[in-house]
């Protein structure tokens, strides 16, 4: 790999092939454009700096994903006191099935934001990227057994958050 030898243009070509995937992962874990951009930028810079230490060039994609995922954790910790905004931004009013789909999406969105970054990450690599247990373990930097149990905990936490939101909604309706 020429990039390991210090060829910046070779590395930038690699980065161009990976940046959409990395951004998609970071956005889903962090839920914010600015935070996702920071995580991807820092991840690419870190990968460039540490690239000579990568012993197996075939492991580049998993290694790069792991770097960005861990930088997402850091971003999430640093920004947790900052108010979050919906990633959908302003939307046109919808009716019928479209309205129901949007309501469902908002419901999941609200619950997803209650999860820890680690739980969001395991859901993203499993249900968005469709990675196998071993691939997810590589991307997250955890043992395969932990992927399985963490996914179980994450989905359980998501269900609990959805149920809590439902109860809060029912309660507010009852009061009004």
């Amino acid at each position: 790999m020429r990039a390991r030898g210090g060829d910046e243009s070779a590395f930038n070509q690699l980065a161009a092939g990976e940046i959409d995937r990395l951004y998609a992962i970071a956005y889903r874990i962090l839920g914010r454009q600015d935070a996702a951009e920071d995580a991807v930028q820092d991840g690419l810079v870190s990968a460039w700096r540490e690239l000579p230490r990568l012993r197996d060039p075939d492991a580049f994609q998993g290694w790069l994903t792991r770097i960005v995922v861990h930088l997402c954790y850091r971003e999430a910790r640093q920004r947790r006191r900052v108010a979050t905004v919906s990633w959908a931004g302003e939307r046109e009013p919808a009716e019928g099935d479209a309205a129901a789909a949007l309501a469902d999406r908002d419901e999941i969105d609200g619950a997803f934001r209650h999860l820890s970054p680690e739980h969001r990450a395991v859901i993203v690599v499993t249900h968005y990227l469709g990675l196998s247990g071993a691939e997810a373990a590589e991307a997250l930097g955890i043992p395969p057994g932990t992927v399985k149990s963490r996914l179980h905990h994450a989905m359980r936490a998501l269900r609990a958050a959805l149920a809590a939101d439902e109860r809060a909604l029912a309660s507010s309706r009852a009061r009004s």
């Binding site: 930028q41 700096r49 230490r53 309501a103 999941i108 043992p143 932990t146 905990h153």
Partner: protein, 400 residues
């Protein structure tokens, strides 16, 4: 399991709350988010890459890798600034530059403003001394001095379960795949099934051991006389070729690292214990108990086993010490915990936690802690610290 997610008042359509349905909804939600990076992002990242030097392997100037020579100079400047600003410095963890350097420039001396008070996320009072702690599958497992093992809920510290490991003198603890391994000086290694929450078995490893590390495939234990590898699945015990006298073990990349009293660090084959490389990580001449090791990205942090106060950063690619920072005297680091930016160092005798930055070797944070602390670990909730009174989780991200 949530059976239904529909509203109690029936005003909204009923939806199946099955696992499959939830997975489908989550997948649809994730696919709805942007899939392309903003156009400017690649250009910005490329510009930053072009401005950033790559770390080199083996390229050295007077014994320091090129990048670290500049870093060392920057840290020295940082120390001067810190002192001139006149912040109250800790008398115990701050010291002038050390003599007897490892690298030609010598370890830099740590300096920082007055330590701050801890921000406690939660605390779990336990009935006796907590010897060690590990996080497995999002719960914390603490091993108490009387061989009880308690399972604490992440997020609250609530005690979920209590087991008896039936060991005379539990020592180290390590996490495997949904497994907690507990070592002892009585020569037995206890396997706890974390999913089932029960003691599964005790393996006779044949040596009293104080150091325990594990991954999904195996457990490694070491005492002063010998070291062993235990297959996690078959529980077969294999002697390792490591020299006797191991102080601590660490899994660094695909290698087993062992520290010794004389300041040597041996990188060994994890299957056989045959040495692959030996690194000298000491600036002292004596022999003290120490040799703490904490695997970190690209290598490890090791506490100088001879002087007991200098922390060395070792690069696994070149098997060399690439930076050193002196943290005392009179304080003496007693535990290490690596995070994304560097390493947390506990000095129990000083009642201090300090964070050393991986890139600059500067102390970037210092926290007062109560006497009696014995160990630290980064866990999901924050920095876990345990000892005489139980387990506390500190928020260490907010202030740095």
């Amino acid at each position: 399991m949530t059976g239904r997610l529909d509203d109690d008042d029936g005003t909204r359509p009923r939806r199946e709350g099955t696992e499959l349905d939830l997975e489908r909804r989550v997948t649809a939600y994730l696919r709805d988010a942007p899939a392309r990076a903003p156009d400017h992002l690649l250009g910005v990242a490329a510009r930053r890459v072009n401005e950033t030097p790559q770390r080199r392997r083996g390229l050295r100037v007077r014994g320091f890798p090129v990048g670290w020579a500049a870093v060392a100079a920057a840290v020295v400047v940082g120390v001067a600034v810190s002192l001139r600003w006149g912040g109250e410095t800790s008398p115990s963890m701050t010291a002038p530059a050390a003599s007897g350097p490892v690298a030609p420039s010598g370890p830099v001396a740590a300096s920082f403003a007055a330590p701050r008070d801890p921000v406690v996320v939660w605390r779990s009072d336990l009935p006796t001394i907590t010897r060690s702690l590990v996080e497995v599958d999002d719960d914390l497992w603490a091993v108490l001095a009387d061989a009880r093992v308690v399972r604490l809920e992440t997020g609250s510290g609530r005690l979920i379960a209590e087991l008896d490991a039936r060991l005379d003198d539990p020592t180290g603890v390590a996490a495997g795949a949904a497994v907690v391994w507990i070592g002892s000086t009585d020569g037995r290694l206890v396997k706890v099934d974390a999913a089932a929450g029960r003691v599964e078995t005790a393996v006779a490893v044949g040596i009293a051991h104080h150091a325990v590390v594990a991954n999904d495939e195996a457990v490694w234990v070491a005492g002063l006389s010998a070291a062993r590898r235990i297959d996690a699945r078959t529980l077969a015990v294999t002697p390792l070729a490591l020299e006797p006298g191991v102080m601590e073990l660490g899994l660094v990349g695909e290698e087993l690292w062992a520290t010794y009293r004389n300041g040597r660090v041996v990188a060994a084959d994890p299957l056989t214990g045959e040495p692959l490389a030996t690194i000298t990580a000491t600036s002292g001449a004596g022999e003290r108990e120490g040799g703490l090791i904490a695997p970190a990205p690209g290598g490890a942090w090791v506490l100088d086993a001879r002087n007991g106060v200098t922390l060395h950063r070792i690069d696994a690619a070149s098997d060399t010490v690439v930076g050193s920072v002196r943290l005392g005297p009179p304080g003496r680091p007693s535990a290490l915990a690596v995070d994304a930016d560097g390493v947390w160092v506990l000095s129990a005798t000083d009642g201090l936690l300090a964070h050393v930055d991986d890139d600059t070797l500067a102390v970037t944070d210092a926290i007062r802690v109560a006497p009696g602390a014995r160990g630290i670990a980064l866990v999901r909730d924050g920095l876990a610290i345990w000892g005489d009174g139980g387990v506390e989780i500190l928020d260490v991200d907010g202030e740095r």
